[in-house]
Amino acid sequence: MPEPVLSAAHIDKSFLDNKVLDDVGIDLMPGEIHALLGENGAGKSTLIKILTGAYTHDAGTILLDGKPVHPRDTKHAQEMGVGTVYQEVNLLPNMTVAENLYIGRQPLKFGLVDNRKMERDARALLSRYQLNVDVGSQLDTYSVAVQQIVAIARAVDISGKVLILDEPTASLDQHEVEVLFGILQRLKADGLAIVFITHFLDQVYEIADRATVLRNGRRVGSRAMADLPRMDLVTMMLGHAIADTHALRIGGGRQPGGLFASFKDYALAGKAAPFDLDLHEGEIVGVAGLLGSGRTEMARLLFGIDRPDSGELTVKGKPCKLREPRDAIALGFGFAPEDRKVDGILGDLTVRENIAIALQARQGWTRPLSQKAQVDLADRFVRALDIRTTGIEQPVKFLSGGNQQKVVLARWLATNPKLLILDEPTRGIDVGAHAEIIRMINSLCDQGMSLLVISSELDEIVAYSSRVLVLRDRAISGELRGAHISVGAIVKMIAMQPEVQDA
């Protein structure tokens, strides 16, 4: 049995009276990929922040190569060998790839930065990851996937013992995930200990050797993946068994009602090829496609964020025009955007205000919702969606990602929408909340709302859609209905040759 490279035991951490970690431990072996799992708020992030020196622990020990360590800050932890890549890649998008790799430790020549050597080193470093990019280009000219690899390369280069990846696959498409996993396998073979945090259980089974599950700040257990059945794992995470959402097919038998909105020949140069889209009452339309296939661009057009070059919209038979989101909201549309931090939540404002804002905006500034009306509204949705918060007056930025998503959802549900557009509604959300959101989506549509859901999780789309649109190269490349909807059929349509597409 090899010695663990990093071993944390009996870690306690409290924020004032609130104990967020209670006697938690984790052992990381060299050359293993270790999944750290748990629902939102289970304590994963806190544990990671303690290991990387962002927080200090109240009690417990951390052994690195058998010696006790006390990381003072992230830099200290990095120097000792523990590097982290966060979900939102924390690099500098406006600097070059090479500068990002070597910032803070640039090679010097006569006291000046030796750019040539830096770029040479950067190329050599990235070639090990089989990443062939121009290291002199600005980082943000590359995709998130490339940026992620750059971040990993930097972290491994600096630290080299333990690599912690916080939801690295959240914004990657299938192919990019494979590339990333290839890299992880190689790093593992080099003897690195890798901690992998994710919400995608499929990926855990694909890549991880062992998993540690946390729940409510305690360690439920650490098990080898090989003898951990999927249902056992989910039960460990939730503390009780849930119905397997993958087996859930709720959309297929749905009978859509009358025509609600009809987009004709909608197009925007460079963003969306002309498309027709009819949305019916009580219908759930799933939109599938690879990253960059024009899913989000389509949603932005439908909600009036971008104006189309051409095309007509009729809602309930009446011609309409969308100049800005307000117009769409006036027609009863709602939109929960993909990037909730940037476009969704109002971080400094309270949960109450975040939930009330869309309804208030529609009512206009002259007719304010009373304090009581806002409190009632917020209380109702906090309860209905099980939003975990210390109170409705808590600033929403302190909520976990999944709960922020629920707040954005609540904001739109409060307006009683007729058409709700959800862009990646379950991204970064744990299994329990996931099922809950799908159930809610379903019951809303029973009441006549129509729904357009964009998701990169095909299982999910298959589970609730009554119709699936497949996008490729910024155009609708096909449509599936009822019993024809399956993951296999969608994948086939995404991979289809362009000649046979019916747009």
Binding site: F15, L16, D17, N18, F303, I305, E324, P325, R326, I329, F335, P337, V342, D343, G344, I345, L346, G347, D348, L349, T350, E353, A356, I357, A358, Q360, A361, R362, Q363, G364, W365, T366, R367, P368, L369, S370, Q371, T390, G391, E393, Q394, P395, F398, R411
Partner: protein
């Protein structure tokens, strides 16, 4: 709505009280008030009266800063409004028209700033810098390069008259602060402005008219600046395009920051900005009456700013959190946010 007395105790009030106390120690007659010719006199009244122009600027500036903007042009707009008023009253136009024209000039200036920020997407600091530089030129063009003086009693009343025994500027300041607070807090405007300041993109997606609101707050700031300009001109009975309101935009920004509104936008409080302006003026007046050389003023001001900003800093908030045992709150929310929200609570 009941709330603990504690939430009324804010660093700004403590600072104001300390400065007034210090003034009293240095100048024992500081709190003396006397009544003559139908109006109150005294150093305290002086603080309110002299502080009014900056306080009025700060009212408009608060809304702008809450949207994560800034308005550097308000001092220059004061000069424009003063020039318009002085020139028109000299030409014999009726007072009502004169005031309306001066206010309209302020509105147009604000509209210009707002359009640059909201429609062209310029950064507020640059957008308003344009008018800060050009404004005094415009004002000089209006006065044709002279200091235009006037003797119209109606206009002079705006600066040195009195209503109910109090100087007119004080009445204007209090009325405007009350009206503006009501306009923001009894409607949803306050929430909308805060929402835009926190996250403009998310606010637009939620259906707010971000552009119109932005133009609105800059226009309001221009309007406030025009009022200040009229008062300043009336006070010296003339329009001095070069010097009226000089550097007052910085005092106004300072007043807003002292009042607790963050330059990062979001939560704001108009009454606290007025308190901030009064803190600055109390210092100015104190140094004047206690016989220190005026240049001393700048140093003391800087020192006070440091003290107040340190007291308001997140670090101090955390320290305050631990030494105040009765304020048990959940870990993430910082205590600094509590007073801001509770202020709104009482207004609703």
């Amino acid at each position: 709505m009941s709330r603990p007395l504690r939430s009324f105790i804010k660093p700004q009030f403590i600072a104001l009280a300390l400065i007034l106390l210090l003034n009293w120690i240095l100048f024992p007659g500081f709190f003396n008030l006397f009544f003559r010719d139908g109006r109150l006199y005294g150093s305290l009244i002086d603080v309110l009266n002299r502080g009014a122009p900056v306080a009025i600027l700060a009212i408009g500036m608060t809304a702008v800063i809450a949207t994560r903007g800034i308005d550097l042009s308000v001092g220059a707009v004061m000069a424009i409004a003063g020039a318009v008023a002085a020139t028109m009253v000299g030409d014999g136009h009726p007072l009502f028209l004169v005031i309306m024209a001066a206010l309209a000039a302020g509105l147009v200036c604000g509209l210009w700033n707002g359009s640059l920020v909201a429609l062209l997407g310029l950064q507020p600091i640059i957008a308003t810098l344009i008018l800060m530089v050009a404004g005094r030129g415009i004002a000089q063009t209006i006065t044709e390069g002279f200091i235009v003086t006037f003797n119209d009693p109606g206009l002079i009343f705006m600066g040195s008259g009195s209503i109910l025994g109090l100087p007119t500027p004080i009445i204007i300041m209090v009325t405007l602060a009350a009206l503006a607070t009501a306009a923001f807090r009894l409607t949803a405007l306050g929430l909308f402005v805060e929402a835009i300041g926190v996250n403009r993109s998310a606010s637009t997606y939620a259906g707010l008219r971000s552009r119109a609101l932005l133009i609105g707050v800059y226009t309001f700031a221009g309007f406030c600046a025009a009022i200040s300009g009229i008062i300043a001109a009336a006070d010296i009975r003339g329009a001095d395009a070069n010097n009226v309101g000089l550097w007052l935009e910085l005092d106004a920004i300072l007043a807003v920051v002292i009042g607790g509104t963050s330059l990062m936008g979001g939560r704001f409080s108009i009454p606290m900005s007025v308190v901030g302006a009064l803190i600055i003026q109390a210092m100015n007046t104190g140094i004047l009456v206690s016989g220190f050389p005026p240049e001393f003023n700048l140093l003391v001001k800087a020192a006070l700013i440091i003290v107040i900003l340190v007291v308001q800093s997140p670090l101090a908030g955390r320290i305050w959190y631990f030494i105040a045992p009765s304020r048990k709150r959940p870990p993430p929310s910082s205590p600094a946010e509590t007073p801001a929200t509770s202020t709104e609570g009482t207004l609703k």
